[in-house]
Symmetry: C2
Subunit: 512 residues, 2 copies
């Protein structure tokens, strides 16, 4: 048995049975070994950023890592932006990065580069396998290292992959999520009982239905306000769950949302900071005289902690939850708001919404919050170009659930080849492109940072309209059926059709 065969078998035994792949020569034995281990599903992508973003989406929906297969340093480089997002969202993810055979390393061949340094910037575990005899054990350890989230990168020299003498390794048990200690619960309970304005700030792994309900029970029993982080990796939403308000993105709105707060209790979330620094603005919306209490760090068992906290401070309280309500189907011009209403009106039960709408997302969470139960995936790390790939991963993870991607136009272009993989896999994904022909977010940001120029040359760098991107053409060029909507009625018709048919669809929503 060669290293590649043992590696893939070990991964499958450890529960890693999907690999988003963009291989090259140094990964050929891994590719060949796929035929020996049919339980491993390989999904081909045309660009590594699609592979890593898909693995991120897959992990968010399953809680399990997918593998990526990447070609040396440049392949890992192309995957880094979405690995950054996965790292920020604490998704478990295993990169297998092929490298030159060990005898070739010293020759400084054209594709030689510092893979280990690149991997180190995003990974909590990095190892270079040294022999076919080691590679399976390395893989088992890698999977264990990310049992509570995070990225592992296994560098796989070609000769370790092709060398004989490898054996399958048994799965290594992962570390269980640490329980939150009693003194921490007591401290938080004290804050909640203080009578002072308190915010229970939730995010990360407590955004499950159970976690949210426990948090809402605490809020109902103590008068604490419940606020969610701005971009949770995954949140359960819909009727019967709390209508969670997220901390707004714009600094002035975020500061207003937390003004007067004396205690900020973190559950699964880290303390909020603004995305960017702005002149004459503090870096965080947390008031200076506010005490921050950590109930649970990401990776701890935050849901259990919230349940215990609810027992402690609000045993008899009933969480406030949304009653079922969907917006009316709007008519007339297509705007971000009417687009959101169409999505809200037609959202199917069990949908997975992948939200990279950015500036076009106004009203989207509001108009979907009381609809059928669904999951919502956000852009966690701010590296745009994660939406299309994440939707692929979510669809591979949950083939029986409809995936709706709501995708800003500028961001779509970073990883547009994801559409080809949609068609290849016949993934049930409906992509709505928010087509405003601009990097609209940067127009706002230019003003916010205080850059005074309204010069033509600066503006030109935000304008995607010259030439206009034709997303219908782009999608069709990659085998995805596509239509264009210019009114709310057209969007509704097209979305209804797309949701009724299996396989991928793209709707170019031309927003005014």
């Amino acid at each position: 048995m060669n290293g590649a065969q043992a590696l893939i078998r070990t991964l499958v035994d450890a529960g890693v049975d999907v690999c988003f792949a963009n291989p090259g020569t140094s990964e050929m034995h891994f590719v060949a070994a796929l035929d020996d281990v049919p339980e491993m599903r390989a999904v081909l992508t045309l660009f590594e950023g699609v592979a890593t973003g898909a693995a991120d989406g897959y992990a968010r929906m399953t809680g399990r890592p997918a593998a990526t297969l990447l070609h040396l340093g440049p392949g890992l480089g192309n995957g880094l932006a979405n690995l950054h997002n996965a790292r920020r969202g604490k998704a478990p993810l295993l990169n297998v990065v092929g490298d030159h055979g060990r005898s070739h390393k010293r020759l400084d061949a054209p594709l030689e580069s510092d893979i280990d340094a690149l991997a180190g910037t995003v990974s909590r575990w990095v190892r270079r396998s040294l022999s076919p005899a080691d590679v399976a054990a390395d893989a088992a350890e890698a999977v264990a290292a990310i049992s509570t989230g995070g990225i592992a990168t296994l560098v796989l020299p070609a000769d370790v992959s092709w060398g004989d003498g490898a054996e399958v390794a048994s799965p290594v048990p992962g570390r269980p999520r640490p329980r939150v200690a009693s003194p921490v619960l007591e401290d938080v309970a004290k804050a909640l009982r203080s009578g002072e304005p308190t915010v229970l700030f939730v995010g990360g792994d407590v955004m499950t239905a159970d976690g949210q309900l426990a948090a809402a029970q605490v809020a109902a029993g103590t008068g604490a306000r419940l606020v969610a982080e701005t971009f949770p990796a995954r949140s359960a939403r819909g009727a019967g769950l709390p209508d969670l308000h997220r901390l707004p993105y714009p600094p002035e709105m975020a500061m207003a949302a937390l003004a007067g707060t004396k205690h900020l209790v973190l559950a699964g979330a880290t303390a909020p900071v603004h995305f960017f620094a702005y002149p004459d603005t503090p870096g965080t919306p947390v008031p200076e005289d506010c005490t921050v209490h950590v109930l649970s760090e990401p990776g701890e068992d935050g849901v259990a902690a919230l349940r215990e906290l609810a027992e402690l401070v609000a045993p008899d309280a009933t969480p406030e939850v949304a009653e079922f309500e969907q917006p009316e189907l709007p008519i007339g011009p297509l705007t971000p708001r009417t687009m959101a209403a169409v999505v809200g009106a037609l959202l199917p039960e069990g949908a997975i919404v992948v939200d990279e709408a950015l500036t076009s997302g106004v009203g989207l969470t509001e108009l979907t919050s009381a609809g059928p139960r669904h999951d919502w995936l956000s852009l966690t790390g701010g590296a745009i170009g994660d939406g299309l790939p994440m939707a692929l991963g979510a669809a591979v993870a949950c083939p029986d659930r409809p995936v709706i991607g709501i995708q800003a136009d500028g961001s779509a272009m970073y990883t547009i080849s994801a559409l080809w993989s949609y068609a290849r896999e016949q993934a049930d994904i409906t992509t709505i492109v928010c087509d405003n022909a601009s990097y609209a977010i940067l127009e706002h940001e230019l003003e916010k940072v205080g850059a005074s120029s309204d010069g033509e040359r600066a503006r030109k760098l935000f304008d995607l309209g010259g030439p206009a991107l034709d997303f219908v053409s782009l999608a069709q060029g990659m085998g995805v059926p596509a239509t264009r909507a210019t009114t709310a009625e057209e969007l509704a018709d097209q979305l209804r059709t797309a949701l009724a048919e299996p396989g991928p669809h793209l709707i170019d929503a031309v927003l005014r």
Copy 2:
């Protein structure tokens, strides 16, 4: 004057007056300052790998660096693959990477990542500007540091960009190219006079017309064989220049090409190694009993060294050069060979050919070598996806010369959004997509590495045909006029039309 204004003015004064940009919020003051320094041309790209590849192509054609403008770590990450290629080709290139304001760094905001570590993997010079008062001097130093090639990365915190009190800095003189010392010339001359089989191996910066003619004079006068490196960054070609044979890519052919060589004299090139390690194959084609002599390292004045060497060992020799000859226009089926003949027959004077044809490039260099004078850009670092961006950079560098990109289909998809920038800039680029609907190179490689599987699941990872990529649709979706050729005659007609009209064109060449 704020930091951004001083930075851009300093760059322009130092000769850096083109910036391939994909900015975000932290780069807003740089963008705003573009209106204050109109001499800086900003070219918008929709993906950072297009910006870095374009800067590579620009540098190859001008010998001067362009700047890139990239958005924090993820933006640099997206640019890394083509920075790898630029590094391998020794192109001078200056990255300006925006970062959080300094007060924001400690907050671990969502886009925080280790920019410096990423930059270090590709750069010969990295600096983080510490204040508006420093940034202009940093920029001047960065440009000087890459005067003989290489990548400089200037990390630009947002508050350094927006802060006042900056002043323009004067250009810093670059280090001149070192002259090659006499003992080195004497050693090489001795080898050439030894009577033993000798190969003069040329590459890098001696691939200019003058360098090649001097090398050919040495060869003519000494009986040494002249061989070029496999993938020179830029080579002058055509009638009146030596018909340089390149070392073949396949290891067995490369070994055959150098078999029996006793002295290998390197001029501008490094000693050849195979791209990849293969089982039971040595890592380099240089015979074990062959002595390697370095006439000039990349960065040294290799052309002058070759001229001096010619004076020393072959003062009266006449270099052998190609006489003008173009292939007949072929008729019939479109194959890699007939595609090459069409290109050879119609190649215009002064063309810039950007070659990322990979497996479809058979016959391409042979059938163009004796045509009109042109320049040829190759993929230097093996990171595919450089072709489309490089052509953009070459067209921006040389607006009066036709650019012809010959582009493998799989590779095109890594940076396909380059086409939008072609349309935006109305760049005079004709792209011929070698449409074989597969990662053909990997089919060959699977056999070469000795992977025995001919399993269906492995094969499926090389097949780009399900669904077929429609490059005509893709190009039109980004504003580039496009046609499809299925015979040699159609390709000839379409290429003639494309070359006659200004602006970008794409031809989807369906190869059999």
